[in-house]
């Protein structure tokens, strides 16, 4: 994190090109391959997570500053909560518990 980073912002450009490539790849996998819908969901889901990491590390510089470690712990914990909320809700509300 240099204050005078006069050099060309390569990390931004690479992150941007990777994001576009991953978006187009996801569309390709979804519409032009013969995988089962579950496999497709896993692949495009992995692409989405990779893109989110690009934003976090190459654009937002999450590890930058004195509180870099706190930032990581905070984001990891938030993502953990998000996963519990999303998968917990789907599990509780769609696996037939309501029928009993």
């Amino acid at each position: 994190m240099s204050a005078k980073s006069n050099h060309f912002p390569w990390n931004l450009l690479i992150g941007f090109l990777l994001s576009i490539a991953l978006t187009l790849l996801a569309v390709f996998v979804k519409f032009y391959t013969d995988f089962s819908s579950l496999v497709i969901l896993w692949i495009i889901g992995a692409f989405a997570i990779f893109q989110a990491l690009i934003q976090l590390f190459m654009f937002m510089h999450v590890t930058e500053g004195k509180e870099g470690v706190i930032n990581i712990v905070n984001i990891v914990y938030s993502v953990f909560l998000a996963l519990v909320i999303v998968f917990g809700s789907i599990w509780v509300l769609t696996s037939g518990h309501a029928a009993h």
């Binding site: 240099s2 931004l12 989405a48 500053g65 004195k66 909320i85 999303v86 789907i90």
Partner: protein
């Protein structure tokens, strides 16, 4: 994070450092907020109540235009912060204005998309699916709208006061917010649109 380099202006004062840390904690809360909306959508997405399903109303071309507009705006806001760290006020201002225009373009396409949904008979009251869809997309769109107003006001401050410890810290925080909106959109694009469309 190497120690031999100069600290960027937005991290200079203790107050700015705390503001940036505080904003990261707020973004953590935003992740949880959006996760509840995603959870509701995933639970409700098959409950179409005789109304249209995702595959009936989603248009790949429109979604890709929105995605590329937002993706590019995230890139240009990164360029704006890069210019800010080079003490390049003109570059910062220019790239931020480009970012706002791309954001406004995104909103224009999203509003048209909503009108298309309603035209196809999918209003927020149609079914569980449309209620979850409009709530998730609408909350994201409202965040983009708020971001455009917020950054516009910060740019007025920038023009009047120049790049100072305070304005640089505020603009850096706004750029984090803008990148975050793109992160949310990536998941909407993947798990709402791509997942909901059929070949």
């Amino acid at each position: 994070m190497s120690s031999h380099t100069e600290t960027p202006l937005e991290y200079k004062s203790q107050q700015s450092q705390m503001n940036i840390l505080g904003f990261w904690i707020f973004l953590g809360a935003e992740i949880v907020l959006f996760s509840t909306l995603f959870a509701s959508y995933f639970v409700l997405e098959h409950n179409t109540a005789g109304g249209p399903a995702g595959q009936d109303i989603f248009v790949l071309k429109d979604v890709l235009i929105e995605t590329f507009l937002l993706l590019t705006s995230s890139f240009t806001s990164g360029l704006a912060i890069h210019a800010m760290r080079n003490h390049d006020k003109k570059g910062l201002l220019t790239w931020m204005i480009v970012t706002l225009l791309l954001g406004a373009g995104f909103l224009y396409f999203e509003i048209n998309e909503f009108l298309h949904f309603i035209h196809e008979g999918a209003t927020i009251q149609t079914s569980g699916f449309t209620a979850g869809l409009f709530t998730l997309l609408g909350t994201h769109g409202a965040h983009v709208t708020f971001g455009i107003i917020w950054i516009s006001l910060l740019l007025v401050q920038l023009v009047r006061r120049g790049i100072t410890e305070k304005t640089s810290s505020k603009l850096f925080i706004a750029s984090l917010y803008w990148h975050f909106l793109d992160v949310v959109w990536i998941f909407i694009f993947t798990f709402v649109y791509l997942k909901g469309m059929v070949i």
